[in-house]
Amino acid sequence: MFIQVLNGIVYGGLLYLLAVGLVLIFGLREVVNFAHGSLFMVGAYLGFTIASMGYWWGGLLVSVVGMGMVGCTLDALIFRTLRKQDHMITVLVTFGLLLILETAVTAIWGKAYLTYPVPRLLDGTIGIADTPFPIYRLFVIGVSVAVAVSLSVWLRYTRTGLYIRAASTDARVTAMQGINVDRLSLIVVGLGTALAGVSGVVAGPLLSLSPTMGNYILIDSFIVVVIGGLGSFAGAFVAALLIGQIHNFGAVYLPWASTVLPFLLMVAILIWRPTGFAGSRT
């Protein structure tokens, strides 16, 4: 039972890493990034290439830095150019990016499933409640908690964090106060994409690598973002844990309905509160 809860937290943690990136980007650019799942996938493949040479931690580093740079490029080239257009146009462009990235990865690494190694340091199991539990899964929980804590401290107590919170509430008024929202957005989209890279690498050893690995988790993180309320960091955290538990307990106790449960929950919550748990915008 306790092990089940832990497994749910592992998946919830991964979802949080993706969902918080989506929330960050949505806050500043009011765009839901459909390519976020593919960026997660590209991050995993980047890390895999370095990790299979024997440098697991190097793979993590390369993936985070590389995806951060990809994110900055994405913001500068696409989100900034299209900021005056209808936001739906940008969403469609990110959908086009999804198709391009998936095909590119298929062309480079092939369609076959690849197995991401576990770092030697974290290999093995540890006894929890008399059951062996992989250390690596505890590491995943640790990473998500560390990201959640440092992110909230950064947003709460630094000047940049204050600006980001302000811009997420109302980007135009924030810009009127003399804050360079485009530069903030560069940081935020870069950070959000880097987090997609982190979750890609961290999820690598848990899921198998394939060019479509991002799609399933992208839809789950969409559900997290919508349930939590668009643009709400705390909402995303709670919703990710909730969906993680539902995903896991559903798979054990209601296998025939497990994949539909998150969708039903999302529809129910939107009927009850169209802006989600903690959101105030649509």
Partner: protein, 331 residues
């Protein structure tokens, strides 16, 4: 996607001849469709056109939702799949007369969409895109897992009944017959949608799309017209699903998949979602580009992605919009 009322729609009342011209154009298009079997060289070409028209119908369904409701759906394939699965499962199990099965396969998705529309019409913008995506994927997951229904992941082949409405049903799998039938249905659907946009209810729907609050202040119920538009859009998607299932004699969960919805949306955008005819044009264009690019088939999604990015950046009103702009400048 916010759209503003097209000039043609607002002047409809003062010019009744416009409706007559539309009907005339549709009659001409139907006549042209009847000559297609002599124009196309091979059965393969006819089969291709038939399949392109299935895509065109689905894209028209997505585009109509944008045009009349201002809502972008990432889950319209759900109704395509629901139509196809209804006919496939009912015919394969022989539960009802095949004619009744066709009616159910068209009515069921329409009803589902109407009820869903009452709920999701309240959600706007990006949340709406994500919600429709989730609803569509929920259907996909159900048919994917439910092996007893139609063999789940593998998909299911089924035999058409011997007769439909007194005619031999196997004719539906003849490319010549299906091409002409699908073409005629597409023309009639486009005509009906163009006339709908000019009708009273269509104008009310457009008013709600442009400013829901204002329409409510004017005393209109905003929920029902919106839900009606969802229902009509689903009806068109269901027609495409039924035609596709009958023609191929095969149904599979991919009919529901979000990539099918996404591609339909892309076709609608490339063609120009602010025109009734735009999505169909986009679908047929894209279908033939895909066929032409056959040797690069494995890179096809990336090609579509590039086309989509280029079109959205350079011609926001789509191919039909570009043609219309060029045309009005010349005249």
């Amino acid at each position: 996607m916010s759209t503003t009322a097209q000039g043609t729609a607002t002047t409809a009342r003062s010019r009744p001849t416009a409706a007559v011209m539309l009907v005339g154009a549709a009659v001409a298009a139907l006549a042209a469709g009847a000559t297609l079997p002599w124009l196309l060289p091979t059965k393969i070409a006819m089969s291709l056109l038939a399949q392109a028209i299935f895509d065109a119908l689905l894209a028209t369904s997505v585009g109509f939702l944008i045009l009349q409701n201002g809502r972008v759906s990432f889950g319209q394939a759900a109704f395509f799949g629901l139509g196809g699965y209804s006919i496939g499962v009912l015919v394969a199990r022989n539960w009802v007369a095949p004619e009744l099965a066709i009616i159910i396969a068209l009515v069921l998705p329409t009803m589902v969409a109407f009820l869903l529309g009452l709920v999701i019409a309240r959600i706007t913008g990006v949340a709406h895109a994500m919600l429709t995506l989730a609803v569509g994927q929920a259907f996909y997951e159900v048919v994917f897992r439910w092996r007893e229904l139609a063999k789940g992941d593998d998909g299911m082949s089924f035999e058409l009944p011997r007769e439909l409405f007194g005619l031999p049903a196997s004719r539906l799998q003849d490319p010549v017959v299906m091409m002409v039938l699908a073409w005629s249905i597409l023309v009639l659907v486009l005509l009906a949608l163009a006339l709908f946009a000019r009708s009273r209810i269509g104008q009310i729907a457009a008013a709600i799309r442009d400013n829901e609050e204002r329409a409510r202040f004017l005393g209109y119920s905003t929920m029902l017209p919106r839900a009606l538009v969802y229902a009509i859009a689903a009806f068109i998607a269901a027609i495409a699903g039924v035609l596709s299932a009958c023609y191929n004699g095969y149904i599979a969960p991919q009919m529901f998949h979000w990539s099918a919805s996404g591609f339909a949306l892309i076709m609608a955008i490339i063609g120009g979602a602010k025109f009734v005819i735009g999505p169909a044009v986009g679908a047929i264009l894209l279908f033939y580009i895909k066929d032409y690019a056959g040797q690069f088939a494995e890179y096809w999604p990336a090609i579509v992605g590039v086309i989509l990015v280029v079109v959205t950046l350079t011609m926001p009103r789509g191919v039909v919009g570009l043609v219309a702009t060029v045309w009005t400048k010349r005249v």
